[in-house]
């Protein structure tokens, strides 16, 4: 056991929506620079866990820590809002449906938050937008509106938007599952590049091949618990738990069909 605190530390996370228990005592530690994939059947609580990390779906029990800061600490309402807005700046999130701001051009999508929250000047914000959009290969579309982009392009802009806040962690919730198959690769490439830069990432995905190629660790979740976790070659090639085996078998069959 290492003495050092994990980068992200989720301890006994519990979440219920009314009487529905969606997360049942989940613990997860992620080291700096680590890339963790979360897989599992629909409704198993993957999104809920991811959304709990930046408090979009606040936990009903347990703790989440980012470095030495507890994300979901209990504070009076106002102080909590201030605290969580600061925490969220350090956590980038990418959604299945992109959620780009349709009324803003690509450039403003990227510069909005840095300008508002970090007080960047127009020139600084523009330089930042150009840097991030170059990174995701979207610099030529900087003056387009989101409606003028393909799904893959939208998602790359959404990634640039999140990166512009210089987050410590990136969360991806099925970033490619709303995309036409031929557009998946361009988004995966961007994520791979982030992996090469040692960005800490938690990736919820249905793409086992991608998970296997970029992740350090894979978690298999089912019905609100982590059933099995380990390095990708073990989880994908040689899973021990029967539920994992069944899931992977069904999933692969589904893909071939």
């Amino acid at each position: 056991m290492s003495q050092q605190k994990p980068f992200i530390d989720i301890r006994h996370a519990k979440k219920s929506f009314g009487t529905l228990e969606v997360l049942k005592d989940i613990s997860l530690q992620v080291e700096r620079g680590q890339i963790v994939a979360i897989i599992g059947p629909s409704g198993s609580g993957k999104s809920t866990l991811l959304r709990a990390i930046n408090d979009l779906d606040p936990l009903t029990g347990g703790e989440i820590w980012l470095e030495d800061k507890q994300i979901n600490k209990s504070l009076p309402h106002r102080q909590y809002e201030k605290h969580i807005n600061e925490v969220r700046q350090e956590i980038g999130m990418v959604f299945q449906h992109f959620n780009l701001f349709p009324h803003l051009r690509v450039r403003e999508n990227v510069t909005l938050a840095p300008k508002m929250l970090k007080g960047l000047s127009d020139a600084e914000a523009n330089a930042l937008a150009e840097e991030q959009l170059t990174k995701v290969g979207m610099i030529e579309r900087i003056d387009y509106y989101p409606s003028q982009l393909s799904g893959g392009q939208k998602q790359r802009v959404a990634i640039a938007r999140a990166l512009a806040m210089k987050p410590k962690v990136m969360l991806f919730d099925e970033a490619t599952s709303a995309l036409d198959p031929e557009l998946v690769e361009e988004v995966n490439l961007v994520m791979k590049r982030l992996a090469e830069e040692h960005m800490t990432m938690i990736i919820v995905t249905h793409e086992m091949g991608f998970a296997e190629s970029v992740c350090d660790r894979v978690l298999f979740m089912d019905q609100g618990v982590v059933v099995e976790e380990g390095p990708p070659e073990v989880i994908f090639r040689n899973p021990k738990n029967e539920r994992t085996q069944n899931f992977l078998r069904k999933h692969l069959a589904g893909h071939k069909a």
Binding site: R88, Q89, G92, F95, N99, F101, R105, Y145, S147, M165
Partner: protein, 218 residues
């Protein structure tokens, strides 16, 4: 007595001056009703109950009583309690507030219709609820509701004739004055109708331009 449009040129300056007042009052009241409508919508949806309720009562009063009465109340009623409002201001306030309520209803619906993912995306970047509302939700809600708001503004133009009753020399009142001197109601009312119609056309043209601009960002 037959029709005689030759009386018009002599009074044309009075009537056109009235048209300018009508445009001025319409534009001012439109601005009040637009921004006031957004503000009222945000209050109605998000303010704490203690703040919300007085505004709800206000909305109810303005929707449930005739505009004419509201204008009388603001212009003649307030003087009585020591607030002397110039007729033009009273007209702008009365018309503006009346349409604030109509616009607020539209804005509320469109704010609620903005995809929840938009707020989530803004909040995950670190924006506060208020920042997300101001920079992400409200601009989209406004954009989506421009056509019906535009229709309200055209209704506002027509209702601006009512401020003649508190003595603002707008288009309708100046026509009445011209008629008072010439006894030519038909000629002047036709003229005034034509002018209203032209202003209306201009407003519709502006509205269509705005809509086209917005379309690009949809």
């Amino acid at each position: 007595m037959g029709l005689d449009f030759s009386v018009i040129p002599k009074y044309l300056d009075i009537v056109l001056l009235g048209a300018l007042w009508t445009i001025a009052i319409t534009v001012c009241a439109a601005v009040v009703s637009f921004f006031g409508g957004i503000l009222l919508a945000v209050i109605a949806l998000f303010a704490p109950a203690l703040v919300r309720w007085p505004f709800r009562v206000f909305s109810f009063l303005f929707l449930g009583t005739p505009l004419l009465l509201q204008l009388f109340l603001i212009y003649f009623g307030l003087v009585q309690i020591g607030v002397d409002v110039p007729a033009f201001v009273a007209g702008v306030v009365g018309l503006g507030l009346h349409f604030v309520v109509y616009n607020s209803d539209l804005f509320q619906t469109s704010i609620l219709a903005v995809d929840k993912g938009q707020i989530e995306a803004a909040r995950t970047l670190g924006l506060s609820r208020w920042q997300a509302l101001r920079k992400v939700v409200v601009p989209q809600a406004v954009r989506d509701v421009i056509p019906p708001i535009g229709n309200n503004m055209i209704a506002l133009l027509k209702d601006s004739a009512l401020v003649s009753v508190i003595g603002v020399s707008e288009l309708t009142l100046s026509a009445q004055r011209a008629i008072g001197s010439t006894y030519r109601p038909f000629e002047f009312y036709v003229l005034v109708a034509a002018i209203y119609y032209i202003i209306n056309l201009v407003m519709e043209a502006v509205l269509r331009r705005v809509e086209r601009r917005i379309q690009a960002s949809k």
